[in-house]
């Protein structure tokens, strides 16, 4: 039981560090960076956003040149041909530098692999290199107003017209739609088929006429997501991935790759709240000397470190070439509620002044006030608490699925409500 790389891993890590040291600026303080992570990107202002995107593209190009852009991608598509543990090592190391790869994660992590499995050779040659080097950004157009937790409940119409398909409907929660060049989309091509059988999968140019992108304003003030409206959007049948009616099957390729694409949940944690208990005064003196505060701190420490060591166990599994365990499914579930609870409690410690957001006066750059708002989204986006518990219950513990009438009736006969 140790925390060291094996020989091959250590060599790879050294190689990565060498590349990063040469090409990027190292962070000095990791704790403040994690605190800032809760302040969403879009709060930074338009101009800064444009600059950040360009910086990221420049960085991605450098990574691609050095072969690190797609650790898991096969070499034939410009990838590193590496292993999951190498992917983890790369991510661990990159986190220590002032660079940002988030814009490309969905493309490289999920959509590229989908193209590799289901795309035509000429498309792979045409799209994958630019996806990898950041020249073209891709987004994933899956969720809809009526297809959130129930992802297969997609209503977006895809109607065939000669060699073309006409798309009508609305997607939602689309990350990066406002800067993406391409997207992959699932739509309903046969409403009279079973829910999971009437879908078809396409890719498309986001500049295709009839597509309108509208940012969604969140309560935290940021707009990480978009609504995307489709009005008679025509795309050629050559942009279909997989057969007509096989859209769900193709989607699963995309979704199965989600695990590795999604990074650590951002945000405030034990260390931040522990820090402020040493400054704030409660009714009987410094918060950290109050036994109730201490007991609460212990709870969060144990959760926080429990997740960290669970991750170590997963990395160990990866390092041995095994499938990682349950890390991802429990990590967001625990982290999101922890963030909400920690935030709320921190404001309670600040007492009457806890709701003030003023920058000069607030503590740790408003991390707890932002966290109170941001955590609500975190408990929902990317799988609600409830969906995650279902996944653990059914996929990890093997408990039986509930009766699912929506699996046995034609889609257009299902009640659908609001």
């Amino acid at each position: 039981m140790d925390f060291n790389d094996n020989e091959k891993e250590a060599a790879f890590r050294a190689e990565v560090r060498k590349f990063l040291d040469k090409n990027a600026k190292k962070r000095t303080n990791t704790s403040s960076s994690s605190a800032n992570a809760a302040a969403p990107e879009t709060l930074r202002g338009k101009e800064a956003q444009v600059k950040a995107l360009q910086d990221a593209k420049n960085w991605q190009a450098k990574k691609a040149e050095a072969g690190f852009a797609g650790i898991l991608w096969p070499k034939e598509f410009g990838g590193f041909g590496g292993t999951p543990i190498e992917q983890v090592i790369y991510q661990q190391e990159e986190l220590n530098y002032f660079v940002h790869s988030g814009y490309f994660e969905i493309g490289i992590g999920m959509l590229g692999p989908t193209m590799m499995v289901w795309g035509k050779d000429e498309d792979k040659i045409k799209y994958l290199p630019k996806m990898l080097n950041g020249e073209e950004i891709w987004c994933q157009l899956f969720s809809e107003p009526s297809a959130g937790s129930d992802l297969a409940g997609i209503k977006m119409k895809a109607e065939k017209d000669g060699d073309e398909w006409v798309l009508n409907g609305q997607k939602v929660w689309t990350s990066g739609a406002h800067f993406a060049d391409y997207g992959m989309i699932v739509a309903r091509s046969d409403p009279s088929a079973l829910k999971h059988k009437g879908l078809t999968y396409f890719f498309l140019d986001m500049k295709t006429p009839g597509i309108e992108v509208k940012p969604i304003e969140q309560i935290s003030g940021s707009s990480n997501f978009n609504e995307v409206f489709f009005n008679d959007v025509r795309i050629p049948d050559t942009q279909r991935l997989g057969n007509e009616g096989d859209g769900w099957k193709v989607s699963l390729t995309t979704l199965m790759n989600e695990r590795l694409a999604v990074g650590d949940p951002a945000g405030l944690d034990f260390d931040e709240i522990f820090e402020i208990t040493r400054d704030l005064e409660v009714e009987d003196g410094l918060a950290i000397n109050n036994s109730e505060v201490r007991q609460k701190m212990a709870d969060w420490y144990v959760q926080s470190r429990g997740l960290k060591y669970t991750k170590y166990r997963s990395i160990t599994a990866l390092s041995k070439g095994q499938t990682p365990g349950p890390e991802l499914s429990i990590s967001k579930l625990v982290t999101a509620s922890k963030m909400q609870d920690v935030s709320s409690y921190a404001l309670d410690l600040m007492d009457m002044g806890g709701y003030v957001l003023d920058e000069q006066n607030a503590i740790l750059n408003n991390v707890f006030q932002n966290g109170l708002l941001f955590s609500t989204a975190m408990r929902i986006a990317g799988g609600t608490d409830e969906v995650l518990r279902n996944i653990i219950a059914e996929r990890v513990l093997g408990l039986p699925q509930d009766t699912r009438e929506d699996k046995i009736k034609p889609f257009n006969e299902l009640p659908s409500g609001k």
């Binding site: 959130g148 909400q340 009457m352 009640p415 409500g417 609001k418």
Partner: protein, 376 residues
């Protein structure tokens, strides 16, 4: 046993609910949310004044209606339900109660009629820093009858014409001699700055005083106990606002969960959400019952008030926090959008829970008062 409001009070409730449904739409609430330079809804304030609500519990001799605190509880619940963006709590639950309890005859005559008529808005300036206000972190002071110091946050400070300010009194720099002063804000040396806060529908300010005129309220050096008493009284009224908000948060979660379908059925038929709403309901009912007990203690000036107020406050704070956060969760994706109203309740919940001091502090109050009661 008649542990309920009277028929008249229930009629008042019905009228108030109808009135606010009409006059305090979500659009009106959002007009303050989206532009907190508006600071509060002047239309709604005027309507509320016209209804006589600001005058409810102020004695007739000072221009009020001379009704009881129970009527004020009824109104508080409805204001909480409707998220009313007006400085009612600061002016009525706190400022007016300070005056009623501790004002000299002259002070009462000077301020209460104008508070009752809505001409003046009052508020309370207490904390100066993040963390619990304590004897060692209140630095405002009065020297030669002039007040200096900096207070934040002062809820409704930006619209208050007159404030109760907690400060160290001039004849004694000893920190145990906190005193209260009445300060009019329309004078040189009072500087207000609107703050960004979590609930822009009920804005707060920083207020700086530099050698400004003030008049002492009640006994010098008795500030802490006066504050405790008025916060106890206000806590019951806040609890009713919180209970009101929590009930609407549950109602809206319920409505959405019945209308919204996933996997071919309404999401409200899934046990995870059902049980969440059942838990909301349980917390809300307990909070309501504790608030009723607080109302009884408040309206009868019972010795039980400190315990009853703390119980009402703790229970209502928990209920509203839970209902408002889980209402977002039940709404799923739309729950955390600016467009849907879930966040209005979530913001208000946190404002109300901190405004009179955190739940931790009230739990501590509850137990110390229980200990005192056991000794006597």
């Amino acid at each position: 046993m008649n542990f309920d409001f009277s028929d008249d009070q229930k009629l008042l409730q019905e009228q108030a609910r109808k009135f606010l449904t009409d006059k305090c739409s979500r659009k009106l609430v959002r007009s303050v949310l989206d532009n907190n330079k508006n600071q509060y809804s002047k239309e709604l304030w005027q309507e509320v004044v016209n209804m006589g609500w600001t005058a409810t519990a102020i004695p007739e001799e000072y221009g009020g209606l001379g009704l009881g605190m129970l009527e004020l509880c009824v109104i508080a619940e409805e204001l909480g339900r409707s998220l009313a963006p007006i400085p009612f709590s600061s002016s009525i639950y706190i400022f007016a109660e300070f005056l009623k309890a501790y004002g000299s005859e002259d002070q009462k005559k000077q301020y209460l009629p104008k508070i009752a008529s809505g001409e003046l808005i009052g508020s309370f300036a207490f904390p100066e820093t993040k963390g619990t206000p304590r004897t060692n972190n209140i630095n405002s002071k009065v020297e030669n009858d002039k007040l200096s110091g900096k207070k934040l946050p002062v809820n409704d400070g930006q619209v208050a014409d007159v404030l109760i300010v907690a400060a160290n009194s001039d004849n004694n720099q000893n920190h145990n001699s906190l005193s209260l002063y009445i300060v009019e804000t329309n004078q040189a040396g009072v500087e207000e700055k609107l703050l960004d806060t979590l609930d822009p529908t009920r804005p707060s300010s920083q207020i700086e005083f530099s050698n400004v005129a003030c008049s002492v309220l009640g006994e010098k050096g008795e500030g802490w106990s006066m504050i405790q008493n008025i916060l106890n009284r206000a806590a019951v009224l806040f609890a009713f606002e919180q209970v009101g908000g929590a009930q609407v948060a549950l109602d809206e979660a319920k409505k959405y969960s019945i209308e919204r379908y996933a996997f071919g059925k309404p999401i409200g038929s899934f046990q995870a959400l059902k049980h969440k709403m059942a838990d909301m309901y349980v917390k809300n009912e307990l909070a309501k019952s504790n608030a009723y007990y607080g109302a009884w203690a408040l309206s009868t000036d019972s010795m039980e008030l400190p315990v009853a107020a703390a119980g009402a406050r703790v229970s209502a704070t928990e209920a509203f926090h839970y209902a408002s956060k889980e209402n977002i969760q039940i709404h799923g994706g739309v729950g955390f959008t600016w467009e849907y109203d879930c966040h209005l309740f979530y913001r208000r919940s946190k404002l109300l829970s901190l405004n009179l001091g955190s739940i931790r502090k009230w739990k501590e109050n509850l137990i110390s008062n229980l200990e005192k009661r056991n000794i006597t």
